[in-house]
């Protein structure tokens, strides 16, 4: 789960980090007077959407007076913003964050994430932060430090001291103090990461200001969806308007759905098989309309919900159901399809390939239902039939 920048900065403050003074506004709370209270100008006005790349898309603007900030914010609110990170979709700007703009001497980069191979959280830090960090990592990897940390150890400034030993070497007698400040900041983010089950915390840039203080200029936090059950206060930060509507509908039924651009609706069990089904549809010259994993152990209701999401998608010209039952039973799948089809009439060709646990029962249920089905024996045949059906 993603959250907004202003929410991330609020969490930072809770964990003892400095963040620039600022306020977040909605359309009806925006006023010049309230903006003036933030501090002396200049201000930076930042559209709050769940994506990076806002600056280049006009979603971040610096202005030199409160009334100018008001004007810019008013224009942003209620619009939609598309950046190179929003995958072609424009996201609604319902909130703007207005902060006192500061002079930044230097931009650093700090991120915490999980290193799968090491099975440990990992901090990534660089003195060359800013928008080009990916290029820096690619071209000059020696400028990017990576270090692991344990989750049940004390996460103090001391823990991270060794991570930043070579930082600020050109800052003379200030170096030591800056290193202390940076390791302290990382330790606080690490505590947030562990205590709230984050999967990514990224501060890019982390600004070194004229007074030698370190302040997060931007902030991004992703949370581990599997751990939200023990963090209701985090779950409350969710902004569903930033997420794909079909994906949200799917989430309500605990389904894994990703909307795509094509016209073959796919319903598969298991993420690997679902991805492989998309791959084979493409290999055969078709375009999948979605990724949909009904998951292990789906109930009849869940299957019906999944099937309805596909049926409702106007772009879908054929539906491909590819099920290899393991924990999922083919009879449950068949019952779900029959139930969904009673509510929303099937108007496009339906290609079904069933194999695995209780396959005979499943085939029997579909046969008795009299739904028009193109059945396929193999995976390959199913994909070919689906591609033929939309031609």
């Amino acid at each position: 789960m993603n959250i907004h920048e202003y929410q991330a900065k609020d969490l930072f403050r809770k964990y003892g980090l400095n963040a620039a003074p600022g306020r977040v506004f909605q359309k009806n709370s925006l006023s010049v007077q309230e903006i003036s209270k933030i501090g002396p100008p200049p201000f930076v006005v930042k559209a709050q959407i769940h994506a990076g790349g806002r600056g280049k898309a006009g979603g971040i603007q610096i202005v030199d007076a409160a009334d100018a900030a008001f004007g810019v914010a008013k224009k942003m609110l209620g619009t939609k913003l598309k950046t190179y990170q929003t995958a072609g979709v424009a996201k609604p700007v319902d909130w703007v964050l207005i902060e006192a703009a500061r002079e930044i001497k230097k931009e650093l980069y700090v991120a915490l994430t999980l290193d799968r191979e090491a099975a440990l959280p990992c901090a990534i830090c660089s003195e060359s932060g800013g928008v080009e960090i990916e290029q820096v990592a690619r071209e000059t990897p020696e400028k990017v430090f990576r270090g692991h940390f344990g989750v049940d150890k004390a996460l103090t400034s001391e823990t991270f001291r060794s991570f930043v030993l070579n930082f600020f070497s050109d800052h003379g007698k200030n170096s030591d103090r800056l290193r202390d400040q940076l390791s302290d900041l990382i330790s606080k983010i690490a505590r947030l990461f562990v205590e709230l089950d984050a999967s990514l915390v990224e501060v890019n840039p982390l600004g070194l200001l004229a007074d030698d203080s370190l302040v997060p200029i931007d902030a991004k936090i992703n949370f581990d969806d599997s751990a939200l059950f023990r963090h209701p206060e985090v779950a409350r930060l969710r902004d569903a308007s930033q997420e794909d509507e079909r994906e949200n509908e799917a989430k309500r039924f605990d389904l894994s759905y990703v909307g795509l651009e094509g016209n073959i609706g796919c319903m598969v069990n298991g993420a690997g098989l679902a991805m492989a089904t998309m791959d084979i549809v493409k290999l055969d010259g078709g375009e999948p309309a979605n990724f949909l994993d009904v998951g292990g152990g789906a109930s009849k209701e869940k299957v019906a919900a999944a099937f309805k999401i596909i049926l409702k998608d106007p772009r879908v010209k054929a539906i491909l159901v590819n099920i290899f039952g393991g924990i999922m039973r083919c009879d449950v799948l068949a019952e779900g399809i029959v139930a969904a089809q009673k509510e929303i009439k099937l108007k496009v060709p339906l290609i079904v390939r069933l194999e695995g646990t209780n396959v005979e029962k499943g085939r029997e249920i579909l046969k008795r239902s009299k739904i028009q089905i193109i059945s396929a024996e193999t995976f390959e045949e199913a994909a070919q039939r689906a591609v033929e059906a939309v031609r």
Binding site: Q85, A87, L114, R116, E117, A119, L120, P121, E134, R138, G150, V151, D152, V194, D197, S199, D224, S226, A227, F229, R230, S256, V258, L260, V268, N269, G270, A271, G272, L273, A274, M275, A276, M278, D279, I280, K282, L283, P288, F291, D293, G295, G296, G297, I323, F324, G325, G326, I327, M328, E355, G356, T357, T378, F379, E380, A383
Partner: protein
Amino acid sequence: MTVDGILRQCYGALPQDDVGLVWCSLREAMAILVDENTKVIVQGITGSHGSFHARQMVQYGTKILAGVTPGKGGQDFDGIPVFNTMGEAVAKTGANASVLYVPAQFAKDAILEAADSGVELIVCITEGIPALDMVRVLKQLENKGIRLIGPNCPGIITPEATKIGIMPGYIHKRGCVGVVSRSGTLTYEAVWQMTTRGLGQSTVIGIGGDAILGTSFVDCLELFEKDAETAAIVMIGEIGGAAEETAAEFIRKNVRKPVVAFVSGSTAPSGKRMGHAGAIISGGSGTAREKVARLRETGVRVVDSPARIGETVVRTLG
């Protein structure tokens, strides 16, 4: 149970040379990690998934010695005794493996309980376990000599001997192909393609789709390379992480048996999460293209179509 473990139990008193001889004759019949002598406890046996799959496993011939559900000790499940704790279940039955069907929020403690009970193998089927819980689990299991498979996996099967997990038994057939996969259902697909072509499997392991896993590709490749019954290896990867790249490096250095591979998700849009916590690509790393390239460099036969896995193995074995 490992080959060595069985031998130590059966022939512990034999002189070293004789153990070697017995080992050579016995290992012909061995697959990896599990066989008909593996004695299993089902954690969460009274839940809906646990009970369904416990019955399926018994039907397949798996030796299920006990079940564990806290608070339900003393009950009886189809003649299988149910205990409150793993410690009790192991002490009373002498089981050496456990399989977990417990809800995600209790999985960490259940795995750790199994680890303390003395079993050598823990298969965790449960999906949706918080990633940091698994970080804690792996830390605790370090240097204990316990093999954890999963989580979020279909389990492990040595066809016609034992099945520990949720895979449909009938699609398998005993033979010489070792299969290791990050996926569940895609593994069934690959296995079915082989079985319908008359080609059997030595052992099939689903290592799981999560970011943090107990057993890696490399662990399984190493075991299959050493296993006398395994003549070829099928490896099924997917986008995200670097497990396939690490496996490619290991294969280049250590694997002489032919390897056929497929990497799913080559058409997945970048930056989108495709269900598995593992199946996420961002930026330039973890893409199917990179993984395929690295595997091909080491001589692995990577198929473009997931429908071609079976026939490619058949051709490879000639």
